[in-house]
Symmetry: C2
Subunit: 342 residues, 2 copies
């Protein structure tokens, strides 16, 4: 099976949501590979949405968004949306660059650099608005898969987990996880905000306010409002959302889906965290080792790993009965139309 | 029956959509009563969305939006949403003032003053993006009711109908319909754009580009993409959308719902147009003659008449089995919490 455990759902009205946000944290050099340069990461969420929606990143000239040339995981997500025909909606939880395709606007601000110790001033407001939206969508859909595109988001995930007292080790879009930089950034933010490890375990939204990013508040709020069956699609960033949900005391039918690249990342501890938290996890393997494209084979070497809900998008494809081969071939089609020569 | 004919639908996943847009045409003095002053009409769509969503208009200080003090029809729409619990989504098709509640952003520009002869430069693009959104929503909902909040929108409706060769007489949010001003404005725009009556009958989106507003392109695109059962909720503005749909040659299960105030407006010709066009119409009567509030009784004198999909919202309430009395009482509750003394 290319998704483990095999997703035995048959939803009538599945829905895929991708939450977009920026955080000033992504501009710290060396933090994020989700963009050619730290400044260009501002464009990544918009470009990801455009790519999933239209097959082309409109807001940037080059679609290969990692410095290495490995393609954005939006390529995987688009492949799944094309295969499954599940409707995909985008939510802006706070962006510097707005996508040129339709999206839900929560009317929130981009997050700040967490080194300042305050990052998401309107976390409570974002949560509430997102919960209201979730309540509406729960009347239309019986299974919602929630992905994200937030460059710099593993560092904010580390910050929020620390503030809530979790020893979460976060993954990275780089093959060599810049853990030292992330540690330093989080420590600086905690110091500035006078926070200690675990001191905000009973106030998750306050932790987001100091050290998180706007996506976290939006994702947690959405899960709260939805009530229906929900799958968080992402790696360690979505683990931090599970921490928030757990510490808020929310009782919801929520699980997590990610790629094998995150689950097997030895610099992170995805499986351990899931066990500690007590949620179900789905792990998806696109089998890119067999791909005819170098860019996709790069994933096997630890480039990119996850994002734009790629793991959940694969779960969706598996749930609708598509094989790993069908998924990989459709991904190759999407990829090939973007990079005809590589 | 307070809605004629009685709506015999039992949708499983109904959805209410309200399309918001501004047009520079609304700033022409005497055109629109949807705002205390012509300049303040810029705030009306945002305030309407906020009122439906939260019970309070956040972007303006006073919720009584007509110069006369008659309340916005958003009050009626909110009452229906509270009664029916149908999810309501807002779409911005081009706004000067963005609502402070979540909405779908089509990333389009507000419309210009049609006296210039060009009003919606991106009509084709809005149509396409809206159709794509409609296609997604068709997978979630089996009945979509589409309302609008576009101050100045009856004048653009007149323009578009003339350009397509329809003798549509449009209604007004004023009790005394300022037909002469509207005629003059439309004639000026047609002259500037070198258009004659009916010359764009085969190119409805070009008619919208010259003399329409962004809502029209968004509503027609949505109907195209949805495919599913759709009800346009509005008066003569939505009649102009039906003209667009008909002249585009779209075959869709679409009908129209409006208030008795528009249907019985002798300065307009709603019923005649519907017969000419060959669509089904639903007419809703909130029975405000019996209201204990003066503001609501003003509707019986021809103030406001329709907007924010109020007619379709009443149809929704009737469809879900609520009586005229139940609807009126809930409207009075909403109204009473806004204007405790009137």
């Amino acid at each position: 099976m290319w998704v483990e455990p095999y997703p035995e759902f048959s939803p009538e009205k599945p829905l895929f949501i991708c939450i977009l946000a920026n955080t000033g944290t992504a501009r710290i050099p060396g933090i994020s590979a989700a963009g050619k340069t730290p400044e260009l990461t501002d464009y990544t969420p918009a470009a990801d949405a455009e790519l999933v929606e239209t097959g082309k990143a409109i807001s940037i000239t080059e679609p290969a968004m990692c410095p290495s040339g490995a393609p954005t995981p939006a390529v995987l997500t688009r492949a799944s949306m094309l295969l499954t025909e599940i409707p995909c909606l985008f939510i802006s939880a706070g962006l510097n660059v707005r996508p040129k395709v339709p999206f839900f606007d929560l009317n929130a601000h981009p997050g700040g650099d967490i080194r300042n110790g305050h990052a998401v001033e309107d976390a409570g407001d974002i949560y509430k608005k997102s919960a209201a939206l979730g309540k509406k969508l729960s009347k239309l859909s019986d299974l919602v898969i929630i992905g994200e595109s937030v460059p710099g988001g593993t560092t904010t995930a580390l910050g929020v987990m620390r503030a809530m007292g979790y020893n979460g080790m976060v993954s990275s879009s780089f093959p060599d996880n810049p853990q030292e930089i992330k540690d330093r950034v989080v420590s600086e933010g905690m110091k500035r905000a006078h926070l200690s490890f675990g001191c905000l375990k009973d106030d998750p939204l306050c932790a987001v306010g100091h050290l998180g990013d706007p996506m976290m508040a939006a994702a947690a709020g959405l899960v709260d409002g939805l009530g229906t069956k929900t799958i968080l699609a992402g790696g360690t960033q979505m683990v931090s959302v599970l921490c928030i949900i757990k510490n808020l005391g929310l009782k919801r039918d929520v699980s997590i889906a990610t790629t094998c690249y995150v689950a097997d990342d030895k610099s992170a501890n995805f499986r351990e965290m899931i066990e500690v938290l007590g949620f179900q996890a789905f792990i998806a393997d696109p089998g890119f080792g067999n791909s005819r494209f170098k860019g996709l084979r790069m994933y096997e070497r630890g480039e990119v790993k996850e994002g734009v809900g790629a793991g959940g998008a694969m779960l969706a494809a598996a749930m609708m009965g598509f094989s790993q081969k069908e998924f990989r071939e459709r991904t190759e089609e999407v990829y090939g139309s973007l990079f005809p020569i590589s």
